[in-house]
Amino acid sequence: MAATKTRPRLAVFKLASCDGCQLTLLDCEDELLTLAGEVDISHFLEASSAVEPGPYDLSLVEGSITTAEDAERIRTIRAASRHLVTIGACATAGGIQALRNFADVDEFRRTVYAHPEYISTLATSTPVSAHVDVDFELRGCPIDRRQLIEVITAFLAGRRPDVPNHSVCFECKRRGTVCVTVAHGTPCLGPVTHAGCGALCPAYHRGCFGCFGPSGSVNLPALIPLLRRDGLDEDDVERFLHTFNTAAFDEELGK
């Protein structure tokens, strides 16, 4: 009987984020109960009030590091986890809250809060990998449900996840979507963006806006003139690249 076998222990943690990536696990409606039969969900605050201490076989971490407490907490999580996988743009690239990295965080604090002195925050929002070793990074804002299942399955089976790092362009071709840039002159980050969403935006007649961050091998500077040709001015280009993976695209620009 499976009941006598020790099941792998799964944990889910949240740092600075919107909850959407861990919600993606609860959005696996067809797989959730099966998964719960295969693993012991030991720590998942959003889903269960039964919280067990580590060590955990697989920890999924959502969110970026923006406070001194979370910088300390992620080290404790790492120490309690055999495998640590970061999920989503916040955890893998700092998220949209990394826009503070290019601004004055004290000014941000004064703008949003009546009593800025109560707010403790770091000047930067950084990915988990800037603080601890990470076994795998699953991209996306939000992550893709099928890729999440693949990653969990792979770690349970002791193999590397099959998550290709090619660009969204590949997915458009595979899907048979007409190129929005070639056909309509729509600015699109597809050529430089990591695949994984299934090339959603072009299928909805919209240019890719980079939710999954830079792909494996990109030449971002070469795309800029195309974006300018298709009607974006310098500020538009700047904003286009500075959203959910702002720090990661910025790094690519500097290469």
């Binding site: 984020s17 609860l26 109960l33 605050l45 009030s49 907490r73 941000f108 109560y118 806006f209 904003r239």
Partner: protein, 457 residues
């Protein structure tokens, strides 16, 4: 009277809520002196970095405030910016937006009913544990939730942070043929939603009574979702309403003495938004099928003045709203004819715009100021949980005080009661963070080793 004296209870990490928060309760000589819902999620500064962005960006950017109700953020952002630019979306676009919003209502309300709230009524730690004894019910909940997600995936592109919403409408609108299989799925979902009403109606409900004013949008001939007039039902039974543009004249943050928390007040009084408020304000305009569900749930007929002020029973209202949202989605699909254009052009105009819509957990207000070039110069987002925090704490205080007076519960029982009381209101802490200040009280020397987050006393 062993427990009655003085004690401080602290739950470092609340579970089965969206986002992460903590709870502190102080009891002195048998009297609850402080009940606090603490928000320790790190601030992300949306209102600061929205400045200088193009006026076309807030629908995509503010979606990231909340993974559970991104559509609410997109819809309030579109409403506010279109208001600033003096554009009114076409009726077909309004219907499609409502259809997308119905998907989010179904997904979010069913998530709360089955995965977060029901385990409390059945003495389980989670829906997964619940599935061991109530497999068919949990499967029904997941199927119903999936129907909401399917709707968002078709209209919005994906369930979390949909990609298809833009100012003036959508990037692409669906064909009638694409909606056909979805309608079939929703017909099954309507049966599941009805079964959900019957299931939760059989739960045992503790007594409870929210004293706060109830605030929700009201629309002339429908149950308000994607727009309406802010309307308040006061504790004394009187009603009042005000235009969306006057929102911040009525709803304001105040600094409570002896507390570091900023609380939201409506004309100086505590108020509550969300399912209970919507049912009280707009219940009479529910569709016939939803009215029937309300009566079957035991809520009574809102056309005859039925109002529910017991937060434990909010699960009934969420179930009725799920029936409503499924039936409403079917109605919109049935009448749908694709518009000639997927969106109306929205040229930028310098000025201020206001927008309010009904997120699953309550009224969500956005305000933007734009310059003539279409850049955002200031932004304000007021999420429902930030508004509800004061009423939730008031509710906590009353429930715990009564429990202490009646049966002198031990710490574990009192803690469980507090967690339930908070879950009753479906708080979304990820959303509210930016609006509230942090009231972290580090009372333990080993805080840094508490990897659940927050602070353990």
């Amino acid at each position: 009277m062993t427990h009655r004296g003085s004690r401080v209870l602290h739950v470092g990490s609340l579970s089965r809520v969206e986002g992460e928060g903590a709870l502190r309760l102080k009891v002195h000589d048998g009297t609850v002196t402080d009940a606090r819902l603490e928000i320790y999620e790190p601030p992300r500064f949306f209102e600061a970095f929205l400045r200088g962005r193009s006026y076309t960006e807030p629908p995509d950017i503010t979606a990231r405030v909340c993974g559970i109700c991104p559509v609410a953020y997109q819809m309030s952002a579109c409403a506010a910016i279109e208001d600033a630019c003096g554009v009114t979306a076409d009726p077909v676009i309004r219907d499609l937006r409502r259809l997308l919003y119905c998907g989010e209502w179904i997904e979010s309300q069913v998530l709360h009913i089955y995965l977060l709230h029901a385990p409390d009524f059945l003495g389980r730690a989670s829906a997964i544990e619940l599935a061991r004894t109530h497999r068919a019910e949990v499967e029904r909940g997941l199927r119903l939730k999936k129907a909401g997600n399917s709707l968002m995936e078709l209209i919005g592109g994906r369930a979390v942070h949909p990609v298809n919403v833009r100012l003036g409408g959508f990037h692409r609108v669906p064909t009638r043929a694409e909606l056909r299989p979805l309608a079939e799925q929703l017909k099954q979902a309507l049966d599941d939603a009805w079964e959900t009403v019957r299931w939760v109606a059989g739960f045992d409900f503790p007594d409870g009574h929210v004293e706060a004013d109830l605030l929700a949008l009201a629309a002339p001939d429908t149950y308000a979702i994607e727009g309406g007039t802010p309307t308040v039902l006061r504790a004394d039974g009187t009603t009042a309403s005000f235009p969306v543009r006057d929102f911040t004249e009525h709803v304001a943050e105040t600094h409570v003495e002896h507390s570091t928390a900023l609380h939201s007040r409506l004309d100086g009084r505590l108020h509550l938004t969300g399912s209970l408020a919507r049912f009280a304000i707009g219940g009479a305009r529910l569709s016939p099928v939803a009215l029937e569900a309300a009566v079957e749930a035991g809520l009574g007929d809102p056309r005859e003045g039925a109002v529910c002020r017991n937060p434990f029973r909010s699960i009934l209202v969420r179930a009725v709203e799920s029936v409503y949202a499924v039936a409403e989605a079917l109605r919109i699909i049935d009448a749908y004819e694709p518009p000639a254009q997927p969106y109306t052009d929205v040229p930028p105009v310098a000025g201020v715009g206001h927008g309010a819509t009904e997120a699953p957990r309550g009224l969500l207000y956005h305000r933007y100021e734009l310059d003539a070039g279409g850049l955002v110069t200031s932004a304000l987002l007021v999420p429902p949980t930030a508004q509800n925090q004061g009423a939730i704490e008031d509710d906590l205080r009353r429930l715990t005080q009564r429990a202490i007076g009646e049966r002198d519960p031990d710490d574990a029982e009192l803690t469980a009661l507090c967690e339930r009381a908070i879950r009753n209101h479906d708080p979304c802490i990820s959303c509210s963070t930016h609006f509230l200040d942090l009231t972290v009280v580090r009372t333990s020397s080993d805080t840094s080793h508490d990897i659940s987050g927050g602070c353990d006393a």
